[in-house]
Symmetry: C2
């Protein structure tokens, strides 16, 4: 059977956009002689639709979209699409997360997702009832075990669910597994996904056709990488990563096809950084495209974080659509301007300059009666940072830019940033990258010639909010800080476990206290492009008033 | 059997604080001759602990706390406490949400929550596996059907779950239902709760002892109202609302006791506003107490929103701990100052004044080269609002205040506010009150004499960011706006349903578009004290890049 794999970038809730794209793909597949066209999980509405699912009118639009697509199906061409469907029973949640099998111009069969991820960034049990039964789909010469994303994932040692839908489906003697997915990216995800799919292929001795979404939906980035695997767990067809793709395959040839050469299977930090790079570019592009924006502004401090975000934004949106604003104060070093100018020159970027000193001094003067007799402290540093934010937001408002946030994960973790100052922005581009990963990314961006000036990479990081300030005055060195943070945030190690790994108790206590005391700050930060297994935001939910002594 | 009902205010993760409080209660109950002491759901760690639950060290602390409390139990005195417990099976989530039955110095029995709320503000299936079995607890002369919060709630017409644990427990012939809860307040919740408990009492023909938490945990406010109900669904004992309480009852007398007079059973807007008032006071107090803060600052615009928040903060924290900052511009009316002064005088409040004109003018001058030839627009309004925020945050930083946010739900809904300007603050006090409810609350605060000056209540609302500006220039009148918002947000009506209810299609489309286009702004707002059935924040999760055409 000829099957067309459709890997597309959907826009949540934008039915006209999604359906037009899906119809085009069906027409193309039909012209290519496909007998089955497979789209991803919740393809008609995009993933994750979140509380849109609680609106009856949203579900109606999903149903209408499925019915519209069904009309393109024929006696020769079937279509599988993902959409929510109503649970007709009184018991349980009102919806299923479903795969619709369309043929002969109609909805012929609907199967539901059994395993509903409800951890990290996932909230599926908020909306959906798990399937209570499984059904094989018979089409042409295939008996299809059709599952949805998580349905194939409960093959780890610590099982998350009570049963595996494939165990039941396997009893009905299927010839092919199809899994439709909306599986968000992290920089280690591609290997994990293949490992999981391989476990299924080999355990059930069946080929797998896996169809993922691609594209970013605010924080969540879907990396595509749809694939076909033979029953030995070898990848025989692999679609693009980070872009839309289309592939026609013949299901009868899967088990005899040669496995494809695969650049993805060797884990290395070089590979990770190239993936992160592509993910961030897609994340920026889709945020702007889906919000209907085109132009970005950001503050250029002369430091590595803003340099990286500037370079990424220029790559993603075009140099003509990005403005770097240099906003020096009396504490800014000379190289803060010259390094930014060198950066802009490297990539033909647009820059401008506004001196914050007049505004800063006016604030100090206005506050003088209130602050009489009080020594300088972090307040004056915050005023500088917030003055910059007011200027950047004014430029954004007047000239139609969206402000990009340039905070990294290390500083977001320990609260080394000014709320309503440098923590502002519509989107945080590198907020899921530890400082050390920011440096790796800088090296990577320079792989074909200098983009990020060498001096930006080699100089000591500084907020430049008081004379001769260095990050290392306030924070442990980044290699130490980042490792402790990773153990605490990604690996959920306790204080004692981190100390047992060889870190100084006082340093560990200080770092963890900083992480936990700054929950209130992170609560108000912009959405962060997620590239790790545990990003701040959606996937990490901590009580603000909680007392933290883990 | 003599049972002590312990209604307490816990602090999430603050084990020393919680356990000391619980131990004291056990000692008191023992002195009173109690044979059973009952605490609320997840009492040892506070509710909701959120992702703390993913830390093994947090669970260990919970277990240690339970074991410590067990040592106070004897052969004569049993204790029921709520805590997470480990799921020993490989399948399913790693934890249960459990009730521990302690006697003879030991953990004697552990029962688990069967129905895990995972909607609105609840995420319990993120952490917990539902119970797969139920057990009666026998103690003294009672056979106790012990359930946890949601376990009794699946008695509506549209059932959320597949089974009811009480149906199984009823087969074992219990003599008493005990339900331990952490059931968050909304202003209609007290009636709903009694209705649900009554359905259980009458259906199973058993008395109910219901033990709730009290106190605020950032957004979520627990209102207490623990109670005892006879098998006819009549309340025979009722504990305090919005404060800790203790009550000793005799289980043998429940069904023969007289039902108590109850001020709560008649729904009226007067009653609602008095509850909202108490909830907000508790919400402010607990936020400050649990964060370890004592002093609040806020901007006093002369309008009703900031006036209300000021009055509430003074009531909650004491006049000496609250500073109202008047920050006039050239567009501020004379009464903006005089009304705020009258307000402060009514409640002996502290005020101060900083003119924002010098800062505003300096910003304009600094931006002049960038804005050359561009007309004035919302940018200049935002600069004023953000200048105020910088001044307020500077005061907060230097002098140790926490900034209170004064936005209401109507303006948060339609985005009528400046991000990083008047949308700043550590806590949003009235962000879950529509403008009309703000007026009701003002009238209520004046019930025993003027607190909010009459002129603040009667003058037309204005942001005063340009000459002679009125809210009604930009927004529909609040009575219309608020009703449309309520239908869309609380009732989840579609556009067509709202229009069918008699509202003008153009106005409805404009309002819904504003609500949906401002998701990105609300994403960065402070936590909001939740008093309605659907507050912005935790309980309403919408895609930011989604295209909204519901």
């Amino acid at each position: 059977m000829k099957i067309a794999i459709i890997q597309q970038n959907y826009h949540i809730g934008n039915f006209a956009f999604n359906i037009q794209k899906m119809e085009k793909a069906i027409v193309r597949a039909q012209a290519d002689g496909a007998e089955l066209v497979v789209f991803a999980e919740l393809s008609v509405c995009g993933y994750p639709p979140l509380d849109f699912l609680e609106y009856a009118s949203f579900i109606e639009k999903c149903t209408n979209a499925v019915n519209q697509l069904a009309q393109l199906s024929t006696s020769e061409l079937a279509v599988i699409v993902g959409a929510p469907s109503a649970n007709p029973k009184i018991e349980g949640k009102n919806l299923f997360n479903s795969a619709f099998f369309l043929s002969h111009g109609q909805v012929k069969q609907v199967v539901h997702k059994s395993l509903l991820p409800n951890y990290d960034v996932f909230d599926e049990y908020r909306y959906f009832e798990p399937a209570s039964e499984t059904h094989i789909i018979k089409w042409k010469n295939e008996r299809i075990a059709l599952t949805i994303c998580e349905d194939l994932w409960d093959v780890e040692e610590d099982l998350l669910y009570q049963f595996r839908p494939m165990d039941t489906l396997a009893l009905a003697n299927p010839s092919l597994m199809i899994n439709i997915a909306a599986s968000p990216f992290n920089f280690k995800h591609a290997e994990k996904r293949k490992e999981i799919l391989k476990k299924n292929a080999t355990q059930y001795q069946l080929p797998i056709l896996y169809v993922n979404q691609v594209g970013a939906q605010t924080e969540l980035i879907f990396d595509g990488g749809s694939l076909v695997m033979n029953k030995n767990g070898e990848v025989v067809t692999e679609l693009n990563y980070f872009s839309e793709d289309y592939r026609l395959i013949n299901s009868e040839h899967i088990n005899t096809a040669k496995s494809v050469k695969n650049d993805w299977i060797h884990q290395s930090s070089d590979l990770y950084v190239s993936r992160i790079h592509q993910a961030l570019i897609l994340g920026i592009q889709d945020y702007f495209a889906k919000m209907g924006f085109s132009k970005a502004i950001l503050g250029l401090s002369g430091g590595i974080d803003s340099a990286i975000v500037y370079a990424l934004a220029v790559e993603a949106l075009g140099a003509e659509n990005v403005l770097g604003a240099m906003l020096p104060s009396a504490f800014s070093s000379n190289h803060s301007i010259s390094d930014s100018e060198a950066l802009a020159s490297n990539i033909n970027g647009r820059i401008t300059q506004i001196d914050i000193e007049p505004v800063f001094q006016t604030f100090l003067k206005s506050l003088q009666p209130q602050f009489e007799g009080k020594p300088n402290d972090v307040t004056e540093e915050n005023i500088q940072s917030r003055s910059r934010a007011v200027l950047l937001m004014a430029m954004a408002n007047k000239l139609g830019y969206i402000l990009l946030n340039t905070s990294n994960k290390s500083e977001a973790a320990v609260g080394y940033g000014t709320l309503y100052g440098d923590m502002c922005g519509g989107l945080s581009v590198i907020g899921d990258l530890y400082k050390i990963q920011v440096y790796q990314l800088a090296q990577y961006l320079n792989r074909n010639g200098e983009v990020i000036p060498e001096n930006i990479i080699t100089k000591a990081p500084s907020a430049e909010l008081r004379p001769n300030q260095k990050d290392s005055d306030s924070l442990p060195e980044y290699d130490l800080l980042d490792r402790v943070l990773e153990m605490y945030i990604e690996e959920k190690s306790s204080r004692n476990q981190i100390i047992a790994a060889g870190f100084d108790a006082q340093v560990v206590d200080r770092i963890l206290r900083l992480v936990n005391q700054n929950e209130w700050k992170r609560f108000q930060t912009p959405p962060i492009l997620r590239v790790s297994t545990k990003a701040f935001g959606l996937g990490r939910r901590m009580p603000i008033v909680g007392r933290y002594d883990i």
